[in-house]
């Protein structure tokens, strides 16, 4: 008798599968990134030549854009798997569903969250954000975007079975995103003014650990409900 793969192997396998799928559906997955870049480039055009104002509101703009870009990409975490029946196969896997969910969410973050980390410094520069704040900007994106994916996964899992779940999804998820937005933007602002930012960063880290440890279980339970 052969044995099932180790949990880690199954995790890596599913992660690789989702990355491969993203690679083959490039158009769908570049949209959120494009959206992020477009929204931020439109602000200087709309506000005119006001470098001081732009630099002041830059943290808020970048984080609001990141939030909306994340919302835009959320549905893709489980939608196609739900539609073609792959989700049933994942739920019937011999491995704990929560761990498989974490693999899918990680893939989602690598595809939608990580690219923000690369373009955000360029956009921050464009908005005239002080160089001293850019390290903090990167740190908040690094800690904050996985939280967006993790919390979003719960919302998608709850609404994936509904025919028009889009609006409910935003209503469910957006309030939970607000704390991330507040602490991230305030950290960057403080850094720009040369103040201490560790309090905000610790808060964000706390959110991250909380969502890593709780969200996969909630998502798995919600998926079971949606599938039945």
């Amino acid at each position: 008798m052969s044995h099932r793969l180790s949990l880690l192997q199954a995790f890596v396998f599913l992660l690789r599968r989702d990355l491969l799928l993203a690679l083959r559906n490039r158009a769908e997955y570049t949209m959120p990134l494009l959206f992020f870049v477009l929204v931020i480039t439109l602000f200087p055009l709309a506000l005119g030549a006001e470098p001081v104002l732009l630099a002041r509101i830059a943290p808020g703009i970048i984080w609001v854009a990141a939030l909306l870009a994340a919302m835009l990409s959320l549905d893709s975490i489980f939608r196609s798997d739900f539609d073609d029946g792959s989700l049933e196969q994942i739920l019937l896997s011999a491995h704990p569903v929560a761990v498989l969910v974490l693999a899918k969410v990680s893939a989602h973050w690598l595809v939608t969250g990580l690219p923000l980390l690369i373009v955000a410094p360029l956009l921050a520069e464009m908005l005239g954000m002080p160089t001293s704040a850019q390290g903090t900007l990167l740190l908040t994106i690094l800690i904050g975007t996985p939280i967006l994916s993790l919390i979003g996964a719960i919302g998608v899992a709850l609404t994936v079975g509904l025919r028009k779940g889009g609006i409910i999804l935003s209503l469910l998820v957006l309030p939970l995103y607000v704390p991330v937005l507040i602490f991230a933007a305030s950290a960057i602002e403080n850094a720009a003014m040369g103040f201490e930012v560790s309090a905000q960063i610790y808060m964000l880290l706390a959110f991250l650990f909380l969502s890593v440890s709780l969200s996969p279980w909630a998502t798995a339970a919600a998926l079971r409900m949606s599938a039945s």
Partner: protein, 210 residues
């Protein structure tokens, strides 16, 4: 309960849209048994199969695997179960091989190589082809190939012969027979008449009008 009983239901009931689909459904299967669920459309065949997989909760009663309720077994039950439902559960953007590799990673891999599995379901020539470009019947064959790629004892099949041609149906009927001979179990629904000579086939008829 006899000691050789593997899958057993007690008092199983299902309600959908305020309609009682079945109540007090009881059956017991031993190794090598097959259960065919029959009945008109909407009588709860698919619901019964989904309840047996644990995807759907029963509205009453319980399902026992080797005498233990399946919700207590979780992963240990799922590694024994292979399910092919209405949806093929294959990814259109991946090739046949990639799809089967994933199926293996999710369950217990069988000893056959994937090339052999594809050969058996006549898809060897399409191993590297993206599934999206295959026909409906070929996709169905790939979905059923999961049964061979994983080492599962209980096969739960919802209309496995949908969009298969006559030859493929005969081929899978033969594979089902082999599975039963190797002490496997099959629970399936089918509108197609299949004859499996010499097997212990039980039939359940679910009535629609209540």
């Amino acid at each position: 309960m006899s000691t050789s009983t593997l899958l057993e239901t007690r008092d199983l009931g299902c309600i959908r849209n305020d309609r009682q689909l079945f109540v007090k459904l009881e059956f017991a299967l031993e190794a090598g048994d097959m259960l065919v669920v029959e009945g008109p459309n909407g009588c709860g065949k698919t619901s019964l199969l989904r309840i047996l997989t644990g995807l759907r909760l029963a509205d009453g009663g319980e399902i026992l695997w080797r005498g233990v309720p399946i919700d207590r077994l979780a992963g240990d039950y799922y590694e024994q179960v292979a399910y092919v439902g209405h949806h093929d559960g294959v990814k259109h953007e991946l090739s046949c091989l990639e799809n089967l590799r994933l199926a293996r990673a999710m369950g217990v891999p069988s000893e056959q190589s994937l090339d052999d599995v594809l050969e058996q379901v006549n898809l060897y020539a399409y191993a590297e082809t993206e599934v999206g470009s295959l026909s409906a019947g070929q996709k169905r064959r790939l979905a059923l190939a999961r049964l061979l790629a994983t080492d599962s004892m209980l096969w739960i099949l919802d209309e496995p012969f949908t969009s298969l041609d006559r030859d493929s149906m005969a081929m899978f009927a033969l594979l089902f027979e082999q599975h039963l001979e190797q002490q496997g179990l099959i629970v399936m629904t089918s509108h197609h008449d299949i004859s499996l000579p010499g097997q212990k086939v039980q039939r359940i008829h679910l009535g629609a009008q209540t």
